[in-house]
Symmetry: C2
């Protein structure tokens, strides 16, 4: 299944916190066909380190397909024979320098100054991601969604959609998600920000004409990778690891081979990433409380969509208890909600890698 | 119960990796009396951020008693009416600048140069901590231990004791422990090192005549604090936290009140800590495999002590599965081993804060 990145431009976007972004540019992809009534659209919202590339390949010989290729396609749970599946790159996407990502954020040129926004870019929230998606959908004549579904940070957007536009969302699927960033999550996210904030090359966000804070970005990405994986998958991946390795035993300046490998992976990943974009993404997640009102309950009350929660049993990051909490609160409000767990050994990444274990649940829910 | 810090000096210590430390100084504390046969000693080995201050107060008006005061004292599981309880500060203790800690490490003056060792200090291992303790005990005429017990990094020392000196250890208690640092633990520990390694003030460990890398130390301590606590205790502690806080929503430069509070706590904790000592402590833990031989099994085979494992059910750092693994392997080797879990809501810190939930198990095992 081939797919191409498309471009949506939006003028004069006012953020949730009341600031103006004169021009927003985002990328988007789609699979399947929009029907004449324009009521067969399913929006897929992406995770923290992801993009709109949820399925298919840009070119036949691409090594990897989009992250949810296993559930998006002809005859799959998100059936491209029936539905028009669409996904867009978020604001402040982690990888503004990835040629396959179109996003607007601190690395974007501020039309007022002709220089990158840096920290003058407004703080954006998950609601802002939703509003930009809403604008894109309206530009295509799509006023209602058959479903909205996303993993991890994508689940925050999916839930926010169901609250912000209750009439427009028929079905909402939260995969490895949460309803609000509790204190523990806020502190955990802050730890991802600290390496960048403390990298001297970060220079309060003004590094676009100098060397970028790559060491900080690398550490941040290493933390994120580690948090997304279970101990058992890490240990299976590095099953040759021996603790009492000769070099690090001999000299404190020497590292473990396995650590060096992990660091090199994060450095490679840092190539397309931007330090400020990471800080803004972290902030958007820290600020999240579904509905962006006073309480989670106040937000959930507005939902009209049928809801499905699919946390991963062995997820240590967005733990099943966090999904269970929203599910139970929805039930107690008399809403329609289902709950099932994704089994697997990956931890948080089971939301991507083991999603097919709930393919049947998903298929029934979507149809 | 009052206690005083005592001082032990040792000449010419050769480390596990074959390097010489001309002079080792460590602090120690004791509770109860050594009997005439000198066979009633119980060694308590301390955790990563701890010291020999396991029980009692230095002065009547000390705010806090030692960390295991709940189980050490007259009539308590480690009964000072019956036993001579002793604990010592480890090599490379986290807090060389704490007036109540005596330790030897990179911050210590190297007698060969009259300047702090810095990174020329040899890499030390858990076995080295044990050897220094052994030397201290022999200096007191103690050749065998009624028991050795320690939490977290202390459990590594306790297990190492039972393997290094099988004839000398009658009972071994591993509280919130592990048998070896697997790949996941090694990577997790590395994340604690990164903020220091990347702090420009760290200067490859040569900061003793300049400004110390306090920002790096603070981040490291913040990571450690967070890893030691369960999500539920963090969320209960900060139960007034509201995600969509005004200042961080308005300005990316502004932080969350709760995060600022947590950071301030870590900064206060950094006062007595040393960056290089933290790096060496992290390394000692990364290198750990009980027995410090080729395999864990090879080490466990040597044990003659009766063993007891007390992991904490909600520990996300040294998870119960890690204790279960050693316990099962000991049983399959025909050794005597018991296993029970500490219930509580603290997470890893249940090994300190909720240890009394297994007071009876401990009492029966020790007596």
């Amino acid at each position: 299944m081939l797919v191409e990145k498309k471009h949506y431009k939006m003028q004069g976007f006012t953020t949730f916190n009341g600031q103006l972004i004169p021009e927003v540019n985002i990328g988007w992809e789609s699979w399947g066909k929009l029907n004449a009534k324009r009521d067969n659209a399913i929006l897929v919202t992406h995770y923290f380190s992801g993009s709109s590339h949820a399925a298919g390949r840009y070119q036949e010989d691409d090594l990897l397909a989009g992250y949810w290729d296993s559930i998006i396609g002809p005859g799959k749970p998100l059936d491209t024979d029936k539905y028009f599946i669409i996904s867009s790159d978020t604001l402040v996407n982690q990888e503004p320098f990835n040629p396959q990502v179109i996003t607007t954020g601190p690395a974007t040129i501020n039309p007022d100054t002709d220089r990158p926004w840096g920290l003058d870019f407004p703080v954006v929230t998950i609601r802002d991601f939703v509003e930009v998606q809403r604008s894109l959908l309206l530009s295509l004549g799509i006023e209602e969604l058959h479903a909205v579904i996303g993993p991890s940070m994508g689940s925050l957007q999916a839930l926010e959609w169901a609250i912000a536009y209750p009439e427009a969302v028929k079905r909402m699927v939260s995969v490895i998600g949460m309803g609000e960033a509790d204190a523990w999550s806020c502190l955990g996210l802050q730890q991802w920000a600290e390496p960048i904030l403390n990298d001297p090359l970060w220079r309060e966000g003004n590094y676009y004409n100098s060397e970028a804070p790559t060491a900080g970005v690398q550490q941040t990405l290493m933390q994120i990778s580690l948090a997304a994986m279970s101990p058992s998958i890490i240990n299976r991946t590095f099953n040759k690891h021996y603790p009492l390795e000769a070099a690090p035993l001999k000299d404190i300046r020497q590292g473990f081979r396995m650590v060096d490998y992990f660091k090199a992976q994060s450095l490679a990943q840092a190539k397309y990433a931007d330090a400020n974009h990471l800080l803004y993404l972290i902030r958007a997640n820290q600020l999240f409380i579904a509905g962006q009102g006073k309480t989670l309950n106040e937000g959930l009350q507005k939902i009209k969509a049928e809801c499905l929660f699919l946390p991963a049993t062995n997820d240590l990051l967005l733990r099943p208890a966090m999904s269970q909490l929203i599910h139970q609160e929805l039930l107690s409000l008399g809403k329609t909600s289902r709950y099932a767990e994704i089994e697997g050994d990956w931890g948080h990444l089971d939301g991507l890698n083991s999603i097919t274990s709930q393919a049947e649940t998903l298929k029934q829910f979507i149809n």
